[in-house]
Amino acid sequence: MSERSAIDDQPAQGASGITPPAPVQESALVNAIADKPDSSATDGEFKTVGEYRCQNPYLVAENVDVHYGSNHAIKNVSLEIGKKEVIALIGPSGCGKSTFLRCLNRMNDSIESAVVSGDIRLDGEDIYSKSLDPVVLRARVGIVFQKPNPFPKSIYDNVAYGPRIHGLAADRAELDEIVHSSLERAGLLEEVKDRLDDPGTGLSGGQQQRLCIARTIAINPEVILMDEPCSALDPIATAKVEDLMDQLAQEYSIVIVTHSMQQAARVSRRVAYFHLGHLIEVNDTDTVFTNPEHKLTEDYITGRIG
C-alpha cells in the first residue's frame, strides 16, 4: 500500500516532535479567555473545560494536533467518545470540526498538506499505527461527508459498493437485503424503490445526502462520523435521519457535526464546542445548552459568535 501521510514518517507520540509557528489568532483567543476569571487557560496553554472523558470510552483522541502546512487547524485536542453514544461537535465555521472528524478515520491521509499528530485509539488500538490498515479502520469507522458525493453509478450500486468490496454479502439476495434495509433506514427507500437502477447523481441534494448515509450504514460500521448530515435536508428528512441516529445509537457510536443547536440538543448526549482549533468545552448536552461553563460556549449558543 502506498498510503502516505506524515504520520507514517513520524511516530504518533504527541505534539512534542513539532514546534509549529504560533498563528496570530492564538493571542486573541487567549485574551478572550482571560476575560473570564474562571477560565482555565494559562499563558497560551489551553485546557478544555468540562469533562472530555467519558465512562465507557470507545474512540479516544488524545493531544491531537493537525496542521495544514502552516495553518494550525486543531490544537492539542483530547476527546473521548463513548460506546453507544451520540456526541455532537459544534462551533463556528472554520473552527476545525470537519478536520477533527476526518482525523478519526484517517481521511486526512489523502490531503497532502495535512499533518496529524497525537494519539487516537479505537477500542484501545492506535489507529495511526503502521500495523493497522486504513481500509479496516474505515470499514469500522464510517463517514458521511459534509457535501453529498454519490458515485456516478446506479442508486443500487452506490449502496452495494461498500458491502461488495468488503465481501459482506454471501449472495445477491443478501446484497439486495442489505441495500434495501440501508435505504429504508436512511429514509430513502420509499422514494427510490422503483428506480434503483437510475444514477445516484440524478437525485435531489437531500436525497443524495440520504443515499450517502445509506451507503455508509450499509457496511455496518462501529462508529459513524457525520459531517452536517442534515444541512441539505428538509425537516421531514431531518427527522428521519435523527430517528435513524437514535436507532443506530443503540449499537454504535455516532459523532455528528452540526450547526443546528436544536439538532444537537435533540440527538446528542454530549456536546463538544470547538473554537479556532481549540476544544473549548465538553459537557452533557443539558449542561452545555442551559449552563455552559465557558464564556465562549455561552457566547456561541446565545448567538454572539458564529
Binding site: M1, N105, F145, N149, F151, H166
Partner: protein
C-alpha cells in the same frame, strides 16, 4: 442634479460594453471565415486533383490464347510462355495497317504492362482457355489514361508530350469503337507501390501504417495509462514529480525527426531490429505518442472530482480499488480520446519514418511486423516526388484516403467522448 444611482452608472458604461462585444464578435467571425476559407480551398484542390485517380481507363481486347504462341512445342510453361504477346497481338489485330517495328512498339505501349500478367493469371485459373478467344478489359497505359482524363494537352508539340500523335489517333479510334471505358480503380487499393502509375496502389502503405499503429497502440496505451495513473494517483507530489511533468511536456514538443534518430540508433543499430519494418516504426511512433497520451490521460484523471475518491476511501476502498472502480471508468473517455488523437498524429507522421528506412520503394504488401514497408504519409511523399503526371493525381488520392482515416479517427474520438461522458 446628476443621477448617481447604480442604474445610471451601469447605463453609462453600457454603450462601451456593447461596442467591445461587437468588435470581438466580428473579429472572431473574420478569423473563423478565413480559417474555413483556407480549409475549403485545400479540400477543393485536393478533390479536384485526386478524385480522377479513383477512376482508371480500361481497353477492351480480344485475347486469343493461341497455342502457337503459348505452347509452341505442345507444352504450356506458365513461367516462360510469351504471355506478353497475347494482348499485343489482340491490339494489333484491331489495327492491321500498323506494320513497322517502331510503330508496333508504340501501339504496344497503349496497354499497361500488366496486360501480359492478366493473360497469364487467366490461364493459370482456367487452363481450358488455351486455344480460345476471350474479351477482356485490360488497364490502359497511364499515358492513355492521362490523355482520356484530359491531363495531357493535345495541342502541344508532339515531342513535349508523353504520347505521340499516332497513339492519340489509335486511342481516339478505340474510343469511337467503344473499346475504352473508365472503371473504378481497384488497383489503387489492392496493389503495392509500382513504377507504373496505373499499377501503383496504396495497399502496401496502408498495411504498413496499420501494422505500425497496431504496435503503437498496443505499447503506448497501456504504458501511457499506467504512467498517468501512477503520476496522478500514487506518486508523491514533490520536486521529482514536477521535474517529470516538465520533461513529459517537453517531450511532447520535441520534433518528430528526433524520435526517428533515436529509433535508428536504439532499435535499428543497437537492438538490430529489421530496418524499414513496421515494428520499428511502431516503436518510434509509440515513443512519439506516449507524451501526448500521458498528458491527455493525466488531464482526464485530474478531472475526476476528488469527492468521488473521498467517498470511496471513506467506505474503506483501497487506493487500487479507488483507481480501478471509480477513477479509471470516469477518466476512460478522456484517455481514449487522447489515445486516438495521439494515434491520428502517429498516422500522419513521416519524418521519423524516413530516419528508420521506411522510405524505400517497396512493391510487396507487407505480411507482418518485420516485413519491409512504407506508411501512407511516406508513400505520399514518394509519389509527390515522381515526375509522371499520373502519380500527381495518385498523390492527391492517397492524401484523400489519409485524410479520410484521420477524419474517421477523430470522429470516433468525438463519439466516444459524447457517448461515455458522464455528469456528476
Amino acid at each position: 442634479m446628476t443621477d448617481n444611482s447604480t442604474k445610471a452608472k451601469v447605463e453609462k458604461g453600457l454603450a462601451r460594453r456593447r461596442r467591445n462585444e461587437l468588435i470581438f464578435r466580428s473579429a472572431g467571425m473574420l478569423a473563423t471565415t478565413v480559417g474555413v476559407l483556407f480549409l475549403g480551398v485545400f479540400f477543393f484542390t485536393l478533390i479536384q486533383n485526386g478524385s480522377s485517380a479513383f477512376q482508371q481507363s480500361f481497353v477492351l481486347v480480344d485475347l486469343e490464347f493461341s497455342e502457337d504462341i503459348l505452347a509452341p512445342d505442345g507444352e504450356l510453361d506458365l513461367e516462360y510462355a510469351n504471355f506478353d504477346a497475347i494482348p499485343r497481338n489482340a491490339l494489333r489485330a484491331k489495327f492491321p495497317d500498323v506494320t513497322s517495328r517502331s510503330e508496333r512498339r508504340e501501339l504496344n505501349r497503349l496497354l499497361s504492362i500488366s496486360a501480359g500478367y492478366i493473360a497469364r493469371d487467366m490461364i493459370e485459373d482456367d487452363p481450358e482457355l488455351l486455344g480460345q478467344t476471350v474479351q477482356v478489359w485490360v488497364p490502359a497505359a497511364s499515358t492513355v489514361d492521362m490523355l482520356l482524363k484530359g491531363n495531357i494537352d493535345r495541342e502541344i508539340v508532339e515531342s513535349l508530350r508523353p504520347i505521340s500523335d499516332k497513339q492519340i489517333a489509335w486511342v481516339d479510334e478505340l474510343v469511337s469503337n467503344e473499346r475504352v471505358r473508365k472503371q473504378f480503380n481497384t488497383a489503387l487499393f489492392t496493389n503495392g507501390d509500382s513504377r507504373e502509375p496505373e499499377l501503383a496502389g496504396i495497399r502496401g502503405a496502408l498495411m504498413g501504417s496499420f501494422y505500425m499503429l497496431l504496435v503503437t497502440v498496443v505499447l503506448s496505451l497501456p504504458i501511457g495509462a499506467a504512467a498517468a495513473i501512477y503520476l496522478e494517483e500514487l506518486a508523491p507530489k514533490n520536486k521529482w514529480a514536477d521535474l517529470i511533468e516538465v520533461n513529459i511536456n517537453n517531450l511532447a514538443a520535441v520534433p518528430s525527426i528526433v524520435f526517428g534518430l533515436l529509433g535508428l540508433s536504439i532499435f535499428v543499430n543497437w537492438a538490430s531490429l529489421p530496418r524499414s519494418a513496421p515494428l520499428v516504426g511502431g516503436l518510434v511512433l509509440a515513443l512519439l505518442t506516449l507524451p501526448v497520451i500521458i498528458i491527455a490521460s493525466r488531464a482526464a484523471i485530474k478531472a475526476v472530482p476528488p469527492s468521488i475518491r473521498e467517498a470511496a476511501l471513506g467506505l474503506g476502498a483501497s487506493k487500487m480499488q479507488v483507481v480501478f472502480h471509480h477513477v479509471l471508468p470516469l477518466a476512460l473517455p478522456g484517455m481514449l480520446t487522447g489515445t486516438i488523437i495521439g494515434m491520428s498524429r502517429a498516422l500522419g507522421e513521416s519524418a521519423p519514418l524516413l530516419m528508420i528506412g521506411m522510405v524505400a520503394f517497396i512493391v510487396d504488401v507487407p505480411q507482418g511486423l518485420s516485413d519491409p514497408a512504407t506508411a501512407l504519409p511516406v508513400q505520399i511523399y514518394l509519389w509527390a516526388d515522381s515526375p509522371e503526371r499520373a502519380f500527381a493525381e495518385r498523390t492527391s488520392a492517397a492524401i484523400i484516403v489519409l485524410l479520410g482515416f484521420l477524419l474517421l479517427m477523430n470522429l470516433t474520438a468525438v463519439i466516444i467522448r459524447k457517448r461515455m461522458e458522464r455528469k456528476w
